[in-house]
């Protein structure tokens, strides 16, 4: 029997939301790790019962939790993230050199084929991996060491590596994004990396077209077209059709091109979703209306999706890791808000409903399609 499992990370714990293939009624499980920040949790594509969670707190630091039964039970695994060699410095907010310091894991990306192999994107920005199910973590140092690392500076939320995309057609190719350094690609399994920010234009850095320094909020890929990526930047929505070698803006008629999330329909590679957010300081929807915008043309032409979403007095935010797509025949779209709601659409975005609405502030949403 098919079904879906939605994995929700919040400011105060993790939750799993489960439903059958109809996605009409939901069982809410949790909180797991109550009181801890769960920046992200994600399941292995190779073994849906294998889940990983990033658990952290300002008091007690970082933990990684692992489940082998779909989130019913969890056990802590390794939590030692040590930068390779002498860490050196990156640029601090005031422009001075600042030592690289591990703060937390923002994103966990399990391998497409091996449940024990997981990549971790961390703050201060670096990429780690484990090949033993999380017991031991080692840095892929080529990213920080590629040359521009010393000039990276944090965004308002920190210098976080928040997006990891694995190319399903080429196991050596990965894409990552860092706030506020930009997007990078490896074609050799993480040994070496190149910035892929040509075409990005950011007025908030001295050279708006610089090779690095762009505050990329999120990138997304459709598995059938891994050379096409979509990006929500601090301002601007963009796309590339050559694996990041060049980008074109596709913000089109969006009410604001600021936002955090971006994702792609499971069966329509040119159908994409964003949630426009007002400005870079207010961080709530324009006009108090929570609207998902959908483009069926890969950008530029956008339609507002409002049915079932609050259209007055709504001032929540939708954070960068808080949107996900299931791959049921009728594609499901999910997103979580800082107000604690998780909204779902089972018809590609036409109609929405809250499947849970009073959780702690949502930091991340992932969904597993269970066959």
């Amino acid at each position: 029997m098919s079904g879906v499992r939605v994995l929700v990370g919040t400011k105060k714990g993790a939750f799993t939301l489960e439903s059958d293939g109809k996605r009409e009624t939901w069982q809410v499980n949790g909180p797991h790790f109550g009181g801890w920040e769960i920046y992200h949790l994600k399941g292995s594509p190779a073994d849906p019962n294998r889940l990983y969670a990033s658990q952290s707190s300002g008091w007690f630091g970082q933990l990684i939790q692992r489940s082998s039964d779909g989130g019913k039970t969890w056990a802590p695994v390794g939590n030692k993230f040590t930068y390779d060699g002498v860490p050196g410095t990156h640029q601090w907010y005031d422009g001075t050199p600042h030592p690289w310091e591990f703060k937390r894991v923002w994103h966990l990306e399990p391998s497409l084929t091996n449940p024990d192999h997981v990549y971790a994107g961390v703050e201060d920005a670096a990429m780690f991996q484990t090949t033993d199910g999380g017991q031991n973590w080692s840095e892929l140092p080529g990213l920080r060491g590629h040359g521009s690392g010393a000039t990276w500076s944090p965004g308002a939320g920190g210098l976080g590596l928040h997006t990891i995309l694995l190319d399903p057609s080429n196991p050596k190719r990965m894409f990552i994004a860092i706030s506020a350094a930009g997007a990078f690609r490896t074609d050799d399994g993480g040994g070496s990396w190149k910035p892929i920010n040509q075409g990005l234009h950011s007025q908030y850095i001295p050279d708006p077209k610089a090779e690095t320094g762009h505050c990329v909020h999120r990138i997304a890929m459709h598995k059938s077209r891994p050379e096409t990526l979509y990006m929500q930047k601090h301002w601007d929505v963009l796309r590339t059709d050559n694996a990041g070698d060049s980008w074109q803006e596709v913000s089109g008629n969006l009410p604001t091109d600021f936002g955090f999330v971006i994702d792609v329909h499971a069966h329509e590679p040119e159908t994409i979703y964003v949630v426009p957010i007002k400005s870079d300081s207010e961080h709530f929807p324009p006009d108090g209306k929570l609207r998902v915008y959908r483009s069926r043309s890969g950008g530029n032409e956008w339609e507002a999706l409002t049915r079932g979403l609050p259209q007055q007095d709504c001032y929540v935010n939708v954070l960068r890791d808080a949107m996900a797509i299931d791959s049921m025949d009728s594609c499901g779209v999910y997103f979580g808000t800082t107000g604690g709601q998780v909204y779902a659409s089972t018809d590609g975005g036409d109609n929405w409903s809250a499947i849970v609405r009073d959780l702690p502030a949502v930091l991340s949403v992932e969904v597993q399609t269970l066959r």
Partner: protein, 98 residues
């Protein structure tokens, strides 16, 4: 035996519901007590002290005998009342944040 009290979250993590009792070999110091604690409960590694530097995490404090020992040398002997088990060595979460 040395008595150690932990914050609620760390008790949950270590799956203990009250004070921890530890046998500590040699001189009883912050370092030797925490070494013994982490040996007995490996899940606590990195949650009280930094993995690499062994420095106390900023929002944790070490109390004993109504004294704040957080800024004492990790190799300074702990009070006799801690050594003989009359008083616990307390790992305390700072009152910070919401």
């Amino acid at each position: 035996m040395i008595r150690v009290t932990l914050p609620w979250h760390l008790r949950n993590l270590a799956r203990v519901d009250s004070e921890v009792m530890l046998a500590v070999a040699g001189q009883v110091t912050q370092r030797s007590v925490l070494d013994a604690l982490e040996e007995a409960y490996p899940v606590l590694r990195g949650t009280i002290r930094d993995h690499d530097t062994a420095k106390r995490r900023p929002f944790l404090r070490f109390f004993a005998c109504e004294e704040d020992l957080s800024h004492e040398s990790p190799d300074a002997p702990l009070p006799e009342a801690v050594v003989n088990g009359k008083e616990p060595f307390m790992v305390v979460g700072a009152i910070a944040g919401g």
